[in-house]
Symmetry: C2
Subunit: 418 residues, 2 copies
């Protein structure tokens, strides 16, 4: 069928045309509710009236930004890339992707498992919930996907085909180029900070001198430019593209990655960095509001574990891979390959740190703010959280090329995280 925007009334008929959905629900009567928190898309929950445990999610992209309206056009083809990424991630690490019941590039829809017993990770962390298995889960997701979509696993032809399938996700890549690497660090209408004295007090009270200082920090901006260039020109692997703690739903047993509409083939460190950056912002918020030491310790341990485990698992996959676009069996011996791998993983870590810094710094403006910090009620505490974040972010962006180990990274966080 041709693309039409679905609504609560038309969804039921649409669902009746899809075998995997009708066989899931059987003869149950269905009810449809809209979930209001989709920023970009319409998200509906479809439930059985007789068995509320039976539920699926339908997500549809519309040709504009849902949270703003039709005056902010955004191509609905973004769902094409989300669909392709969900399918690809499912093929490599199905345990961490909601089960897919139907995808339709023409309708820009995906129908998938309803995660009724899982929380958005950002909310969980604000509520000081620990997730002991999270680092293990997400590092498997990261290592599997980064490795298996790279030139260390694919052959030359497969890698080029992968690039072809995601290369045209231009609009969303451009959003990242603009909002993560550019507008946040200059005078721009999209920021919550304006150049003149007419700034309303309510807004300007949120802008610390530290934030303002980004505008004139030359070494920081030089670093951001280098990282933006990497983002645009380094085709390591298929990325989720927006892997913050709001793109993760989890509980004590399970971890799911959602919303990969920003997917593209880019630098390894961008996904890992997005995640680490968001964990550090959570850490900064908990330091600022004097949360329990045990929770702070869990966050730090999680950051370290994500970095170390992703690296270890990536290397394990590499160890098993004898042939790929990069490696031809018999080309190089183990000793020499190990040296190359060390250099390779260190570059990945450096990029991770740099991208984490960009992701953190750009969140310090109200419009892009993270709830972890934005929702701190006490102004002094909030400013403290912002200052900690910015201190670490700046150090990351300015010094990422000098990082030599995960220990370096942890030291930077701990020494500046207060």
């Amino acid at each position: 069928m041709a693309y039409v925007i679905l609504n609560k009334t038309t969804i039921i008929n649409y669902l009746n045309t899809i075998n995997s959905v009708t066989s899931y629900f059987g003869e149950h009567e269905l009810e449809v509710d809209e979930i209001g928190d989709g920023n970009l898309n319409y998200v509906y929950i479809i439930k059985s009236k007789t068995d509320p445990q039976k539920a699926l999610i339908l997500k549809q992209a519309v040709p504009y930004l849902r949270c703003v309206g039709e005056e902010y056009p955004l191509s609905k083809e973004r769902m094409t890339y989300e669909i392709r990424a969900l399918q690809l991630f499912t093929s490599t690490t199905s345990a961490y992707i909601p089960k897919l019941y139907d995808v339709n590039e023409t309708m820009s829809t995906v129908i998938m498992q309803f995660l009724g017993e899982h929380l958005i990770m950002r909310k969980g962390m604000i509520a000081q919930i620990t997730y002991p298995d999270f680092a293990d889960h997400i590092s498997t997701f990261l290592a599997q996907n980064l490795f298996k979509t790279s030139s260390l696993h694919l052959n030359s032809t497969e890698k080029r085909q992968l690039i072809d399938r995601f290369n045209q996700n231009t609009e969303l890549c451009k959003l990242t180029e603009d909002f993560v690497f550019t507008f946040a660090f200059m005078e721009h209408e999209t920021n919550d900070v304006s150049s003149g004295p007419e700034v309303g007090s309510e807004i300007s009270s949120e802008i610390s001198p530290e934030v303002m200082s980004l505008f004139s920090d030359l070494a920081f901006k030089q670093g951001v430019l280098g990282l933006k260039y990497k983002f645009m020109t380094q085709t390591d692997a298929l990325l989720h593209g927006d892997l913050h703690t709001g793109s993760i739903m989890l509980n004590q047993d399970e971890t799911f990655v959602i919303d990969p509409e920003f997917a593209f083939v880019g630098p390894y460190g961008f996904d890992i960095g997005a995640l680490i950056g968001n964990l550090i912002m959570s850490y900064a918020s908990h330091v600022a509001v004097n949360s329990a030491q045990a929770y702070l310790a869990w966050i730090l341990q999680t950051i370290e574990d994500v970095l170390v485990l992703t690296q270890d698992k990536f290397l394990n996959l590499w160890q098993e891979q004898k042939e790929s676009a990069l490696i031809t069996e018999g080309f190089i011996n183990e000793t020499s390959l190990t040296l190359y791998k060390n250099e390779f993983m260190l570059n990945m870590l450096k990029d991770t740190v740099g991208f984490a810094g960009c992701k953190m710094a750009r969140r310090m403006f109200g419009i892009a703010g993270v709830a972890d910090i934005r929702e701190i009620e006490d102004d002094v505490q909030k400013e403290k959280a912002i200052n900690i974040t910015l201190k670490i972010a700046k150090l990351f962006v300015k010094n990422y090329q000098n990082i030599t180990s995960v220990k370096d990274v942890m030291q930077l966080i701990e020494e500046n995280g207060h």
Copy 2:
């Protein structure tokens, strides 16, 4: 029309269907000759019988490697990428591309200016001809094309469209991955060296211990692997892809770049490095055969000029560019941008040196050899040329990351070029 392989007889009818060709020749009667030196393709010269000054070249790709035959299939779509590259280069620097009269992706043909008064540069250099304007010409070609197809000039959408137009040139990229970065440095059937004692004396006499030592040089192989990874994953700009001195035709006044069938979006340093590497091999050959000091000095000066002028011209273009995918006006001040540009140009130089090293080292096997060295008759002199080339190549591949200036590069060449 559908694809058919042309021959001397059918070409005339084919040409009669093309307006730009009929209007070029007018009513003249034509004669067609095959030029035998095409390795990959059929190349014909079409001449007016009455005015031999009037001539065009027709080049057609066939679905196999012409110099080997149908048993070595190679997709004729390689001509598609050659056509696209010729058109793009013409749009940026028409002075250095033969005038195009007709291109046809379906027929895999290109009809272009006949360069009757120009010599293949490799042959010119073997004959010790100096080309005083060459460095100026080729640096303009390099700077214009590398800059104008990069994220420093194009916007984000244009850059992704460019990648789309060349991304599927898989087969020829794979040839480079295999033959420049892999097979030449390991035991492989495509090399002129075999592992056993059954190597014929005529062949083994060409293999110096220096060449053999590449197989076990761990640091060299580690460097090659890193450069191969860059080749596969760094999408800086549209490259010619095979810019050696055999892809350049010139005389004292004009310089033309031909044969860009290996074109793809890759690292800046690959084209510059290919050229520099080939100039160094010419230098090594002339050192070995005791050519005049003046000629040696001209080659060294040309290498230095190509490096310096390409850099200067690239920076001049950048200076005039206020907006691009990377740069948003107002993001960064001049001081800070200059620091970033210095870092950027240094990375380009480092990559250039690394790729030059790979290109040189891999040519040391008979099958891939360059005429400059292969055609040296005296065995001792030939071995000297090989040894100089390899010494420099190894230093380049192992140390390219430590290069800090063009002066460093020239010093490496001069100190080891004897």
